[in-house]
């Protein structure tokens, strides 16, 4: 009986073949293309074998932990990191700004590939995978003097979530987004770490730049509004500016002292963007690529697309727009205040500043608790 080294089973377990399917390079690709040219009758076998390899990779990788399990494991590991007595006494542990984990990253890739094959049937089709291991997620570590309190906000709902920061800035976190920050005393800068998508409206403070870290990209602003889309599934991070100016730069290649120097400078440097400009940052290469601007379509539901221009607009309508944009509840006396007209342009201002302006015009006060804003005032005459 003759043994065929290119039978289905043999191909599925052939190391060179698996390597070519899972992460082809020029050399392996040339080799297998040549093989197929010389053995056209093997095309179907090769296609089937490819599919089996992908299905096997997908199926053997289906037991990855849930986000909850990941978080649980990390919190236990982390607690052991700091109780081993090797740290300096009387010193707060280093606050680790952890970016969210890449959930099922590789699985998703394989699944996507399987889906691709599914859609084209058994017709032979050549496609490439990217190398299976993505670049390391950048983790920003910083040391704080004084007390720090790292806060993590994770939006596990299917609606946007508004996070109000200590300095009055607001962040609208889209579903699946994760924001972590410290409410400690850092004299030089305000810092948050983001994974997922969020819209930022930042209070102006030239002495204290506001920095957003996401996978090796730092976005630095002095006071403005912008969107960052740093989803774990996407290979790029997108930054889109609504108002003001922001600067973006890769921190993957800076050592700690360089980083400190760059982050602390009050000036904006790196690539600067002004309103309606967009860039994409490749997590893998660390390159920043400008994107064409898109026409803004005003939408009640998307806070980043809102113009917030009010011209003799009844307050009830203003509050309705704010409720939709920030996914908050605003409680007020509709009878007294509802029909009061308001003139204001509130684009780019954090939620609290918007409320300040509105309440000032109405001679009212506001109070924020959890997801509810209560407005108290006498109303207009």
């Amino acid at each position: 009986m003759k043994h065929d080294p290119y039978s289905l089973t043999e191909l599925i377990r052939n190391e060179a073949f698996i390597a070519w399917v899972m992460h082809p390079d020029e050399l392996s690709d040339r080799k297998w293309r040549a093989f197929l040219e010389n053995n056209p009758g093997k095309r179907q076998t090769v296609d089937s074998a490819r599919e089996y390899v992908i299905l096997l990779a997908k199926d053997t990788g289906r037991h990855q932990p849930t986000q909850k399990q990941s978080d649980r494991m990390w919190s236990i590991v982390e607690s052991h990191m700091h109780d081993d007595g090797q740290k300096m006494p009387d010193h707060e542990p280093v606050a680790v700004f952890k970016t969210s984990r890449r959930q099922g990253w590789r699985w998703a890739r394989v699944a996507a590939s399987a889906a691709l094959i599914l859609s084209i049937g058994s017709v032979s089709y050549w496609f490439y995978y990217k190398k299976a291991d993505g670049p390391l997620q950048e983790v920003a570590v910083r040391e704080e003097t004084g007390t720090t309190n790292t806060i993590q906000k994770y939006n596990d709902t299917d609606k946007p979530m508004t996070v109000l920061l200590q300095d009055g800035s607001s962040v609208v976190l889209q579903p699946g987004g994760r924001l972590s920050y410290s409410e400690g005393v850092n004299k030089k800068r305000r810092e948050v770490t983001l994974t997922g998508k969020a819209f930022f409206e930042i209070v102006k403070n030239k002495q204290k730049p506001f920095l957003v870290y996401s996978y090796g990209l730092a976005t630095k602003v002095l006071g403005t509004s912008f969107t960052i889309d740093a989803s774990s599934e996407s290979e790029d991070i997108k930054v889109e500016v609504r108002t003001g100016t922001v600067s973006v730069f890769s921190i993957g290649n800076l050592d700690n002292s360089q980083k400190e120097a760059v982050l602390d400078k009050p000036e904006l440097e790196g690539v600067t963007l002004s309103h309606d400009q967009r860039i994409a940052f490749s997590k893998e290469s660390g390159k920043i690529i400008p994107l064409p601007a898109v026409a803004t379509v005003t939408s009640d539901k998307d806070v980043s697309k809102q113009q917030f221009v009010f011209d003799e607009t009844p307050v009830s309508e203003v509050f309705r727009i704010l409720e939709g944009a920030y996914n908050v509840r605003i409680v007020y006396d509709r009878e007294k205040m509802g029909s009061c007209p308001l003139n204001a342009t509130l684009i780019g201002q954090p939620l609290k500043e918007k409320l300040d302006v509105i309440c000032n015009a109405l001679d009212a006060q506001y109070d924020v608790t959890d997801n509810q804003i209560t407005i108290l005032g006498k109303g207009c005459k």
Binding site: D4, L8, T9
Partner: protein, 205 residues
């Protein structure tokens, strides 16, 4: 001025390992981020008890941090080290004795027979959805060690040599685990024939 177009930000495992040895928390976090998920996946093939697997994954990392000053400097593959450590942990937790296990698995007959004929059917007739379903069913039925070898080979992308090192068997045994698993795929071809027949019938009517 800041350089914008930078080279890749990827730090090699080896560098991270060196940094962990000097107590760099950032490097440790990075290694955890990179491997805890696939380790958990692998652990799940060794035990169906998810809290046991979680504990084992945690312990592997806790040990690395705790013993960081005594870690070997020249670890050939950090990934390999982690997987082998996890396997030991889980087997200790399950109270398994590797030496006992190995003896029963010593039937190393390597018989790659020619099945080209039956394969032809597999190659031509089968649709992707049937294949996907069959792989899933197959993995549920296979002996643990075969699933383990398949996982390390196809999902975790280890070489046969590395798998042998992790599982504590020789390379020939690893090849056998995989070969047997793949031939099981073929053995259910009668079922396949019927199901594909139904599939095509449905397609035509």
């Amino acid at each position: 001025m800041i350089q914008i177009a930078t080279s890749t930000g990827e730090t090699k495992d080896h560098d991270l390992w060196q940094r962990i040895r000097t107590g760099d928390e950032q490097a440790f976090t990075a290694i955890f981020e990179r491997y805890h998920r696939t380790l958990y996946n692998y652990g799940s093939k060794l035990s169906t008890n998810s809290s046991l697997v979680e504990d084992a994954v945690q312990d592997v990392f806790i040990d690395i941090w705790r013993l960081r000053q005594n870690l070997t400097e020249n670890v050939t593959s950090v990934k390999f080290y982690l997987y082998r450590a996890l396997r030991r942990r889980i087997h200790v937790a399950l109270d398994k004795f590797p030496s006992m296990e190995e003896i029963s698995e010593l039937d190393d007959e390597d018989t790659p027979a020619n099945h080209t004929h039956s394969e032809a059917i597999l190659i031509e007739v089968e649709s992707t959805s049937i294949r996907a379903q069959r792989i899933q069913e197959l993995l549920a039925q296979l002996p643990e060690r075969q699933v383990e070898a398949l996982t390390l080979r196809y999902f975790d992308d280890f070489s046969i040599e590395e798998i042998a090192g992790i599982m504590g068997v020789n390379e020939k045994s690893v090849r056998n685990f995989i070969y047997k698993a793949l031939t099981s795929l073929r053995q259910s071809r009668e079922i396949l024939l019927i199901s594909s027949l139904i599939f095509w019938l449905l397609l035509f009517f």
